[in-house]
Each structure stands twice: as structure tokens, then as C-alpha cells.
């Protein structure tokens, strides 16, 4: 059976620190103003992080790192007129920058807004004449092409894990082959309930989330001997 690479994100562990997002930019030399991976949260306000009142009447804030979902049933692949975006056998939705014409139909098609476009030549700090920051294996992208998370294909092809996975300080991200029942990610997914985003659209994402631990609303132990959530 072929591989199906997938990512599992534990939203209980995730503290929304943006380390994965910044490391992705570094390792993949993503230009200023673009993010392949960004942290959304369910708060309000200009940064989306001002706590709002949750369903239990108390403030809450949940963080959701969001990236390309590497959908099995990818709308972007269907929309691309040149075939520049395509599915690899291992499940990665990949990008061929040399035949991308920058029409951005894929961006319109993607319901996750996972893709970014190089309106100009990508600017980076630091920028070197004959090199770029990050993994040397990652190609630079020219002006006029769309780019997005690649599950760090240069790393995964060499048997390494994506940068976001190895950089998460909370160890909230797990990556691997979900067609392999003995993989770590398969084991974790069988132990917990998880969901993907916009499941009812039928995109069949390869990124899964375990939701934050539910807080008990009612204490089962009313005799005052202890204190059990609320």
C-alpha cells in the first residue's frame, strides 16, 4: 500500500507560540509578508487572539496552527490549468514552480486559504547573493508563482521530519504515514478522537487535530472532599 503522509496536531498541547510558523519561514525561505503556516485562534480583535467568552460562560482561547491540508481530494489540483500543482504518491500536494503560470485559480479553489502568491520577488531578511536561509535543498521561488506548505518534501524524501514537527516546543505535532498501522501517528490517532477542518466539503485533508481537553462543567464529587474541574 502506498504511503499517506499526514500531520496530527494536538490542540491541547498547542500554545499558539508561532514557533512552527516562524521555523517554516526560515527553513523554506518564505518571503516577508507570506506565511505557509499560520496560527489562527478563536479570539476576537485585530490579531484574533483577544479572548472571548466560551460556551461555558468563561473566557477561552484555542489555537489552531493552519497550513496546507494536503487533501486527498484536492480542489487546487482540480483547478490548476497547467498541472503545476499535483498529488504525489505519498500524499503530498506538490508544486512545480517552473510550470506555474501564477493564475491563482488554486488559491481561489482552496477553502483553507493555504496558498500564498509571490506578487514580487520574495524579500527575506537575511538575504544572501548566492544562498538563502534555511534548508539548502529547498528551491527559491521566483516572482509570479504560488507557493505553500510542502510537508517539507525535501526533508521527508530524505527520511527526516518536517521542520514544524521537529521545532514545536510543546511537542504538539506528529507526522508520519497513516497507511502504516505501526507508525507513531497511526497509534496516536487510534487512541484519540480527532477531526479535520471543513470535513463536510469532502476535501479529505491529511492534517488532523485533537481538540483541547474538555473541561468538566459539573463536578461529580459534590461532597466537598475535592475539587474537580468545574
Amino acid at each position: 500500500m502506498s504511503k499517506r503522509l499526514a500531520l496530527l496536531i494536538d490542540q491541547d498541547r498547542c500554545i499558539g507560540c508561532w514557533t512552527c510558523a516562524v521555523v517554516c519561514k526560515m527553513e523554506n525561505n518564505v518571503g516577508l509578508g507570506n506565511h505557509w503556516n499560520r496560527i489562527l485562534s478563536n479570539g476576537t480583535g485585530e490579531y484574533g487572539e483577544t479572548p472571548k467568552i466560551g460556551l461555558d460562560g468563561k473566557p477561552e482561547l484555542v489555537f489552531q496552527p493552519t497550513t496546507c491540508m494536503h487533501c486527498e481530494n484536492a480542489p487546487c489540483v482540480k483547478a490548476c490549468p497547467t498541472g503545476a500543482t499535483y498529488k504525489r504518491k505519498d500524499g503530498i500536494t506538490a508544486q512545480n514552480y517552473s510550470i506555474c503560470i501564477g493564475c491563482r485559480a488554486c488559491m481561489a479553489a482552496c477553502p483553507y486559504n493555504a496558498r500564498v502568491f509571490n506578487w514580487g520577488t520574495a524579500q527575506q531578511v537575511p538575504s544572501f547573493e548566492d544562498d538563502h536561509v534555511g534548508d539548502a535543498r529547498v528551491p527559491s521561488r521566483p516572482k509570479g508563482v504560488v507557493e505553500k506548505c510542502t510537508f517539507c518534501q525535501e526533508k521527508t524524501d530524505a527520511g527526516e521530519k518536517p521542520a514544524c514537527v521537529t521545532s514545536c516546543p510543546a511537542h504538539a505535532r506528529v507526522f508520519g504515514d497513516i497507511n502504516d498501522p505501526s507508525s507513531e501517528i497511526s497509534g496516536l490517532m487510534s487512541e484519540s478522537s480527532h477531526h479535520s477542518l471543513l470535513e463536510d466539503l469532502g476535501t479529505k485533508p491529511s492534517v488532523f487535530y485533537t481538540a483541547p481537553r474538555r473541561k468538566l462543567k459539573v463536578s461529580y464529587n459534590q461532597d466537598g472532599g475535592g475539587y474537580l474541574g468545574e
Binding site: 507560540c17 483577544t50 486559504n113 500564498v116 520574495a122 524579500q123 531578511v125 534555511g134 528551491p139 516546543p169
Partner: protein
């Protein structure tokens, strides 16, 4: 040139909202604004286009047409056809050194350029987004490349590039002149919160040699003076339980925000939670840690001690305390002379008794006895001993806290009484339970010392000290537990001292005497409370040198600005500062443009001032000297990687050798107090003339203590930390500024409504000390009558909360009291 402009809309059905991320003008605005503010007038204008085009030599080692394998980074290629990363890269190890977690960094260079920072695979933390942004720091377009001299008025922003020769000659001449005419102590040396040894030690070494020990020192600190004072008094030193959290069953985070300030250690907290640990956060604001907690308890700023004392009272009244610990390891059974309020000494009850030993009441002889020799000490009681009316510390503590019923504490703190009681019961019944203070914002108040004392008391009372996963977590690391350091040639003869929070006032008012020169290294001026006053004070000086990486706040008022090397460009050593490890911080690349290491700068100045021999060592030789008591060397550390301080008796002050797990403070190490025990009635404060036991003082600058001021400024301002900075460090890194481009004030929904303020609206936050304009974040996730501002923006960046902060301090610790600040907010 145009940056990509984007407005991205993210529809996420699961989260039931659309999030709009406006990423467009962020970078353009931030960097351009910084340039405008600094208005430097350079002989060589460096435009971003040219810099980013790479036509300037970078790092001194870039060659056009490099030798070595062609890097396939520039073409667009399919597939992974390039050579694997490690063939092209040289790896060195370093340690991120601001006042944070001090993670080990794996540094990758290609052809003399820093290109990646990744986790050290042999270390237990993964560096966070800030440490990664050091790549941008090293090659930042606004990084200082040359020495500069001020032309025009101080603060005007006009600069002329000068040579190092001229800079060093000017500095040496001016410092010598001031020393000879006015005295060595009139030159004030100060440095920032750098946790590695070299930069600040080199300044101290230079200052010591230059002044022959007659310096003006600072007392207190911006971070943790109160925490330190209370810890030192109660248990003998500060402790750090960050790594232990995984073993805690209950973690009470009090005025602290580890989800932001201890990001690399969050995996440990997550592990604790997965093992069933409860996490409770006490804070005026629903902070990022509260978002991960089982419960958030909202409390009025400056009142935390009252709640802790109510918990102490409950634990005593309900007999939930650990009697064994109390009798054997604390000074609760010690007798206090009721007339004097002082601990009874052994010499007072026995003729040739030991004046440094203490006394308990021994049931076995029905009389007073030497505390360490008594057979059956009594915990509670009143007695007469040698004509003195005496009572045990425990009895006096019971009386001290008796007023603090949960109801009374609730009136003071705003926390519901039942919640206080519930928390006390939970804490007392859970072991191990940790009080996570982490240099709490609650100890940055006038009652900060006693707040930390109250936490320590709670831990000791419940026997949570000396237990893995218990205790009071202060901060990572144990630098004070090592014998590493740079020996000084002259004995210290401090002529005068300035409280760290009072720089502005003392500079302006010529206290303790009028200073003439300031040598300012790396410190964020915008972090000092009442920051505008500090800027004014600096302008009064005859001569100001700033040694820095950017034209920061302090540099803006300098006479000479020196570009200094980053930690990748020199050698340094980390000695267990925020972790329990020694790290060699290895040089990876040559300094950028004309930047020089602090060591080199001080060595050159020393030569000109006639004591060059003090600096007659390479950096690596200095490091070998620093490590000498441990037997480690820079070479051995390079070979071995970070070394755990408990792995060999020579590596730590207590001669402890321990296998990796578990290490316990106060099992493997002693209480370092005069009594050798945990002290509820501290000898240290008794000797210094301060109240020895826990007590609550109402917050200064509050409704209770300054009602007239409160009438004008009815909102309490608390400062918060932010993911993208450590204090003011990293404030200009593009990857970080993209996330939070500008500052804000968080304000309660009711307070906002009362002022007609809507979310996202520009508002002015002001008081008599200053004013800032920021956008408002309106939420129910902060107490009414409290506003919070993230701390760390530089004064020039416009969202600097310190211009509003109270610079009050007090003799017991000279602690920072910025969380005793009142402000008003209005829409603009």
C-alpha cells in the same frame, strides 16, 4: 520596492468565524518607521534594496563566486536533487542568552553565513521563535555596522560614522578626564539582562580596573529583586523547578505566564497535564497560560499576598499542614521573645550558649532547649523562658494570619471566598504541588517580597519543599549555584548605589551624587519604569557611550555608539543561568561589518587607559578561567556539549552528584539560612530591621492608598510579556514583527463601554508620567478596572508601556513596582 501585499481571509467553519490577517504594510511600515525615527545621517546610506540584493559584503567571509559545491538554492527545481544539508553546512553550538530559557542552539553556517538555527538534538528543549529569529538579528538591515559619533544635540538623531581608533580614543580620553576631575565613581557602568557570562563580566572587569573598585552600583533589578530577597531570606537561595513540573500533580501559576515566557519548557507542562496534573492560573488577565489551564482565577493587582495569607490561615486552622516538616525542617517551633519580637538565641537561655543557635520548647524537659538538640520540640505554645515571655513562631504565624479569613481576603482581592478556600484545600491535599511564580508580576509590587514569602510559606507549611515537583518555582537555572565567574583585580569599594528602577530620578536629581558619564551596554532603556525620565536623565550627562546592536532607546541619547558582536560572532559561556547546564557558546562566523566583541572593546580601552594586562587573554582563555573551579574548559565543553551541573560535585556549589533523575532541591542541597532551616520568621530580616514574618501591605498607587490620584487615573495597569520578545530583545525582528506589528492595551468590556471605546479603536493610555497611543483590545478576559499592555516595545516604537510605569521602590529588595501603576484610557 514593493513587498507582497496581502489581505488573507481564513474561513474556518470549525471555529465559527472569519479571521482577517492583514499582513501587508507590516514590514514596510515597521522598518521604514524605525528608519524615520532614528534619522541617521550616514555617509553611506544603506538601502534595503541593496542590502537584500546582497551586493554588500556580509559577514566578512562572503566571496563572490564561492568555492565549494554550488548551492541549489536559487533555481526552481523539482525533486530533491541537491546535496544533503549536512554536506554543505558547518555546525556549531551556542546558547540563546537573554533572560529566558537559555536553550542550546544548533547553528548552521554555509560559506561563512548563518543560515539556520535548529534544536540541539542532545538537549531537552527546542528553541522558540525568538531564538530562531537571531538569523535576522545577525544580518538585520538596521544593525549597527560602524562606530558612530553624535553630531548635533543629544537625542536629535544626527550621527557621523567614525573609525574605531577615533571612537576608542574619544572614550578613553573622556572617561579618564572625568575620573581624574570628578572621581571614578562618577562614571556609571550598566549592562542589560544577558545571562551568559562574558559580555557583562567584561564590563564589570573593565569598570573594576578603571575605577580600582570604587564604583557606583545598581541595587535591585527590574525582574526579580523581591523574589530573590524572599527566597534568600526564607530558604537561603532561589530555586528553579522548571524541569520538575512533569512530576507535579498540581501547578498553580501565580502572576506568571509560562505559555509565553517559558515556551521551550511547555512540553514539560503538557506532559504533567497528560499525567493528570491540574493547572490553575491566578492573574488579573486571562493570559495565554490561563487559556491552557483548568481554572483561571482573576485577582486585583497588588493584593496577591492577602489571598495567600488566607490560604495559610485555612491550612493552619484545618490542620492541613505537615507537622513533621514544620518541626524538623522549619523554624516554626523556634521561640520568639514577645517583648522584642526577635528569635531567642541559645546564649540567652544558657550561659555559654551559642549566640548563633536558636531555641525551642522541649516537652521532654518542659523547658527551653537548643533547637537542634531538643528531644521533643513543641510546635505551638506560649511559655516563660529565663524570665522572657516567649511564643513559638508557629503560634505567632497563626495569629498573624488570623485576620485573613477567606471573606476578608475576598474583599481585598476580588476573588470569591469559596474559591480561595477551595484552592487552599486542593493545594494542601495534593502532593506534589508546585507554586509556579516564575518571577511573578505579583512580586513586581510594593508587597512583592512578602508575596513570595507567602508562597514559600505555603509550600513549606504543606511539606511541598524538598519534594520532586513541589516547591516554589522561581526561574530556570541556578547560576548562583556555581562557582564560575571572573575574578576582579580590585576589592569592591562601592561608593554609591542607585536603585535600578530609579535611574531616571537619580540621574536627574544628581543622586547619590551627580554622575558625569554613563557606559551603557545592551540594556533596553525602554524597560526601565518612567522611561521618559531616564531619557531626560541621560541627556544631562557629560558623556554617554552605548554599546549595542541597534540604534535603540539608549543609543538615541549617546555621544558614541559602538557596534557589538552577536553571540554567533564571539565566544561565550553559559553557566547554568536559566537551565542546569554549562554551555560553550561557540563562535560561528566573523563579526558583521565592523562590529567587535565586548571583550575586544574593553581590551582596547584598557590598553589606552594603562591596564591592558587585565585583558591580556583571548575569549577562550577567559572562559577557561571562568570554568576553572569546575575543571571544565572551553575545549572540553565544545567536545561534550552542554554539561549538567549536578552530574559532578565540582560543577555546583553544594558538591552534589546526582544521576539525571531525580534531582531535588532541599533534599540534595541544604537550606542556606542562618538556622539551617526553612525560616517563616526570617533571621535575615530580623537583622536588617524589616518585619520578619509574612504580612500584607496595601498596594501603593491604588484606590486605597492614593484616592486623589485614583480619581484621575482609575485603571490599574499591569504589564505583560509577549511571545515575540524577551523584555525589549527581538523587538525589531521581521519574522516576529509580522506577527504582532504594533502594541495594544487590553481593556475590560465594561470599562471600554463606559468610555465609548470599541475593539480595535486607537486610544490613549496616560498618567502623570507619560502617554502612549495604541489600539484597544476589548475583552471580558481581564478584570474590570485593570488594563494590560504588552511590554518590550522600544520608546521609539511608540507602544512602550514603561513610560507610564511607576518607578517606586523600597529598601527591602529595591524591587521593581511597575504593577503598582494607575492610568486612564480614552478614545482618540
Amino acid at each position: 520596492m514593493e513587498l507582497s501585499t496581502r489581505k488573507a481571509l481564513f474561513l474556518c467553519k470549525k471555529l465559527h468565524r472569519i479571521v482577517s490577517v492583514d499582513v501587508e504594510l507590516i514590514m514596510k511600515k515597521t522598518l521604514k518607521d524605525l528608519k524615520n525615527i532614528w534619522r541617521w545621517d550616514l555617509q553611506m546610506e544603506i538601502s534595503r534594496r541593496r542590502f537584500l540584493g546582497g551586493s554588500l559584503a556580509l559577514g566578512g567571509a562572503v566571496a563572490i563566486g564561492t568555492t565549494g559545491p554550488t548551492l541549489k538554492g536559487l533555481g526552481f527545481i523539482e525533486g530533491a536533487n541537491a546535496a544533503p544539508a549536512n554536506e554543505q553546512e558547518k555546525i556549531t553550538y551556542n546558547c540563546c542568552n537573554p533572560e529566558c530559557n537559555n536553550c542550546s542552539l544548533q547553528v548552521h553556517t554555509r560559506n561563512g553565513k548563518l543560515v539556520r538555527i535548529s534544536p540541539n538534538p542532545n538537549y531537552y528543549t527546542r528553541p522558540c521563535l525568538r531564538g530562531r529569529s537571531r538569523l535576522q538579528w545577525n544580518y538585520h538591515p538596521d544593525r549597527l555596522k560602524y562606530p558612530f559619533k553624535r553630531v548635533g544635540e543629544r537625542g536629535e538623531g544626527k550621527w557621523e560614522r567614525i573609525s574605531w581608533e577615533e571612537a576608542l580614543d574619544t572614550i578613553a580620553t573622556n572617561l579618564a578626564k572625568i575620573r581624574d576631575e570628578h572621581g571614578p565613581e562618577k562614571v556609571f557602568f550598566t549592562a542589560g539582562a544577558v545571562m551568559s557570562v562574558m559580555p557583562n563580566s567584561m564590563q564589570r572587569l573593565f569598570a573594576n580596573a578603571f575605577t580600582k573598585g570604587e564604583t557606583t552600583n545598581t541595587v535591585g533589578s527590574l525582574c526579580c529583586a523581591s523574589q530573590a530577597e524572599a527566597s534568600n531570606a526564607s530558604q537561603g537561595y532561589r530555586t528553579a523547578g522548571i524541569e520538575e513540573k512533569a512530576h507535579s500533580k498540581l501547578i498553580i501559576v501565580w502572576g506568571h505566564n509560562p505559555a509565553v515566557t517559558y515556551i521551550p519548557h511547555w512540553g514539560i507542562v503538557a506532559e504533567a497535564k497528560e499525567r493528570g496534573a491540574k493547572l490553575i492560573t491566578i492573574d488579573p488577565r486571562f493570559n495565554e497560560t490561563a487559556a491552557k489551564s483548568d481554572k483561571w482565577m482573576s485577582i486585583k493587582p497588588g493584593t496577591d499576598t492577602a489571598m495567600a495569607m488566607a490560604m495559610i490561615r485555612y491550612i493552619i486552622e484545618e490542620d492541613l499542614y505537615d507537622e513533621k516538616f514544620a518541626l524538623e525542617r522549619s523554624n516554626l517551633p523556634f521561640l520568639v521573645n514577645e517583648a522584642t519580637g526577635k528569635l531567642v538565641r541559645h546564649s540567652e537561655i544558657v550561659a555559654d550558649g551559642n549566640p548563633d543557635a536558636f531555641v525551642v520548647w522541649d516537652k521532654a524537659v518542659n523547658g527551653p532547649a537548643h533547637a537542634e538538640e531538643a528531644i521533643s520540640p513543641v510546635l505551638e505554645g506560649s511559655f516563660t523562658a529565663n524570665g522572657m515571655s516567649v511564643r513559638t513562631v508557629f503560634a505567632r504565624l497563626r495569629e498573624r494570619v488570623s485576620e485573613f479569613t477567606s471573606e476578608y481576603a475576598s474583599e481585598i482581592t476580588g476573588v470569591p471566598a469559596k474559591e480561595i478556600t477551595d484552592l487552599a484545600r486542593l493545594y494542601a491535599n495534593t502532593k506534589p504541588a508546585m507554586l509556579d511564580s516564575g518571577m511573578s508580576g505579583a512580586q513586581r509590587t510594593n508587597n512583592g517580597v512578602n508575596f513570595i514569602q507567602s508562597l514559600l510559606n505555603l509550600a513549606a507549611l504543606t511539606g511541598n519543599i524538598g519534594v520532586l515537583g513541589g516547591g516554589v518555582n522561581d526561574t530556570g537555572g541556578f547560576a548562583h549555584g556555581t562557582n564560575a565567574g571572573v575574578p576582579m583585580p580590585y576589592e569592591a569599594k562601592v561608593k554609591g548605589q542607585i536603585p535600578t528602577t530609579k535611574l531616571g530620578e537619580y540621574f536627574l536629581e544628581g543622586k547619590p551624587y551627580p554622575l558625569k558619564a554613563v557606559y551603557w551596554q545592551g540594556k533596553g532603556l525602554g524597560q526601565v519604569p518612567n522611561a521618559n525620565k531616564v531619557l531626560e536623565g541621560m541627556k544631562k550627562m557629560d558623556f554617554v557611550v552605548v554599546q549595542e546592536h541597534f540604534f535603540g532607546d539608549a543609543a538615541s541619547v549617546a555621544d558614541i555608539v559602538l557596534p557589538v558582536a552577536t553571540l554567533f560572532e564571539r565566544y561565550d559561556v553559559m553557566c547554568a543561568s536559566r537551565s542546569f547546564y554549562y554551555h560553550l557558546m561557540d563562535k560561528a562566523v566573523e563579526p558583521f561589518m565592523e562590529a567587535k566583541s565586548d571583550t575586544w572593546i574593553y581590551a582596547e580601552l584598557a590598553k589606552r587607559l594603562g591596564f591592558g594586562e587585565v585583558f591580556d587573554k583571548t575569549e577562550e582563555e577567559f572562559i577557561d578561567g571562568i570554568l576553572k573551579p569546575t575543571g571544565l574548559t572551553s575545549a572540553s565543553l565544545r567536545e561534550s556539549g552542554p554539561v549538567w551541573i549536578w552530574s559532578d560535585p565540582k560543577y555546583n556549589k553544594y558538591g552534589v552528584k546526582r544521576d539525571k533523575k531525580p534531582f531535588h532541591f532541599f533534599q540534595d542541597t541544604p537550606f542556606n539560612t542562618p538556622s539551617g532551616r526553612f525560616e517563616f520568621h526570617t533571621v535575615r530580616w530580623e537583622n536588617r530591621g524589616f518585619e520578619p514574618m509574612v504580612h500584607f501591605d496595601a498596594p501603593v498607587e491604588s484606590k486605597e492608598t492614593e484616592p486623589e490620584l485614583y480619581a484621575k487615573y482609575p485603571l490599574s495597569l499591569v504589564a505583560t510579556k509577549i511571545r515575540t520578545k524577551v523584555h525589549s530583545t527581538y523587538a525589531v525582528m521581521p519574522w516576529l514583527s509580522e506577527i504582532y506589528p504594533k502594541g495594544w492595551v487590553t481593556i475590560n468590556e465594561e470599562d471600554a463601554k463606559a468610555r465609548g471605546i470599541k475593539d480595535g479603536q486607537q486610544v490613549e493610555v496616560f498618567n502623570d508620567r507619560g502617554s502612549v497611543k495604541v489600539s484597544a483590545h476589548v475583552t471580558a478576559g481581564i478584570r474590570e478596572s485593570v488594563v494590560s499592555m504588552p511590554n518590550g516595545w522600544w520608546v521609539q516604537q511608540g507602544a512602550c508601556s514603561s513610560v507610564l510605569s511607576n518607578d517606586y521602590t523600597f529598601e527591602q529588595s529595591w524591587g521593581h513596582c511597575l504593577n503598582n501603576t494607575l492610568v486612564q484610557v480614552k478614545g482618540v
